[in-house]
C-alpha cells in the first residue's frame, strides 16, 4: 500500500516548540496519539480541519506544516 505523498514537518515543529509531546499535541487538536503518530510518519493524511488545527497550535501557515511535491516530482 502506497503511503501518502503529503510530507510534514510536525516532528521538527514539536521540537522547536519546547519539545512538545505527541500526547499534548494530539489532545490540543482532538485526535488520538496513535493518529498523530500516523500523521507524523506519513501513513495518514488528516482532514483539512485537523491540518489547520495543527498549524494553529504552532502559529504557522498550513504549508509550513504540510508539503505536497510538484507534479514533476511525483
Amino acid at each position: 500500500m502506497k503511503p501518502t505523498k503529503v510530507t510534514n514537518s510536525i516532528r521538527a515543529l514539536r521540537f522547536a516548540h519546547g519539545e512538545m509531546k505527541q500526547a499534548d499535541l494530539a489532545a490540543a487538536i482532538g485526535v488520538t496519539r496513535q493518529t498523530l503518530i500516523a500523521v507524523e510518519q506519513g501513513r495518514y493524511s488528516p482532514s483539512l480541519e485537523v491540518a489547520f488545527k495543527i498549524a494553529r497550535v504552532f502559529g504557522v501557515s498550513l504549508e509550513e506544516v504540510f508539503q505536497y511535491p510538484e507534479e514533476e516530482e511525483l
Binding site: 500526547a23 489532545a27 482532538g30 485526535v31 496519539r33 500516523a38 506519513g42 501513513r43 493524511s45 488528516p46
Partner: protein, 140 residues
C-alpha cells in the same frame, strides 16, 4: 496500539475461535453419519451467542483498560472502520447469493445455514484484517 485496532484484533480472533469450535463440535457430532445429517443448529446458535457476548465483553475490557488514555476514537478510526466494514460486507453479499442458489436447487438446510454462517465469519475476519492492515500500513 489504537483502541479500535485492539477491538479489530479481538473480533478477528473471536470469529476464528468461534468458528473453529463450531466445526469441531459438528464433526464430532457426525458419529459415523454423513456430514449433512450431523446436528448443527445448537452448536451454531451457541457459537454465534459466544461471539456476540465475547465481542461485547472485550469491548468493555478494552474500554476499562484505556479509561485514562483520553480520546479513544477520532476521524482516522471512523474512516478505517468504514473502509474495513465495506470490505467485510462483500462476504455478506456472497453468502446471501450462495444461500439463494442453494435454496433454488433445494439443497439441504444444513448447507444453506452453513454457507451463511461461513460467510458471516469470513466477513468479520476479512473486515477486521482490513482494518488492522489500514492501521499498520496506512489508508489506500
Amino acid at each position: 496500539m489504537a483502541f479500535e485496532e485492539k477491538r479489530a484484533w479481538a473480533l478477528a480472533i473471536i470469529a476464528i475461535v468461534g468458528y473453529a469450535v463450531y466445526v469441531v463440535l459438528v464433526l464430532n457430532g457426525t458419529a459415523g453419519r454423513p456430514l449433512v445429517e450431523a446436528p448443527y443448529a445448537g452448536a451454531m446458535l451457541w457459537t454465534i451467542l459466544f461471539g456476540i457476548v465475547a465481542g461485547i465483553v472485550s469491548g468493555i475490557w478494552f474500554g476499562i483498560a484505556a479509561r485514562n488514555d483520553g480520546l479513544q476514537a477520532d476521524e482516522r478510526d471512523r474512516e478505517i472502520g468504514r473502509f474495513g466494514d465495506h470490505i467485510g460486507q462483500s462476504f455478506i453479499a456472497i453468502g446471501g447469493v450462495s444461500a439463494m442458489a442453494l435454496a433454488i436447487f433445494e439443497a439441504p438446510y444444513f448447507w444453506i445455514a452453513n454457507v451463511l454462517y461461513l460467510c458471516f465469519v469470513l466477513s468479520a475476519v476479512l473486515g477486521s484484517l482490513a482494518k488492522i492492515a489500514f492501521y499498520r500500513r496506512g489508508m489506500p
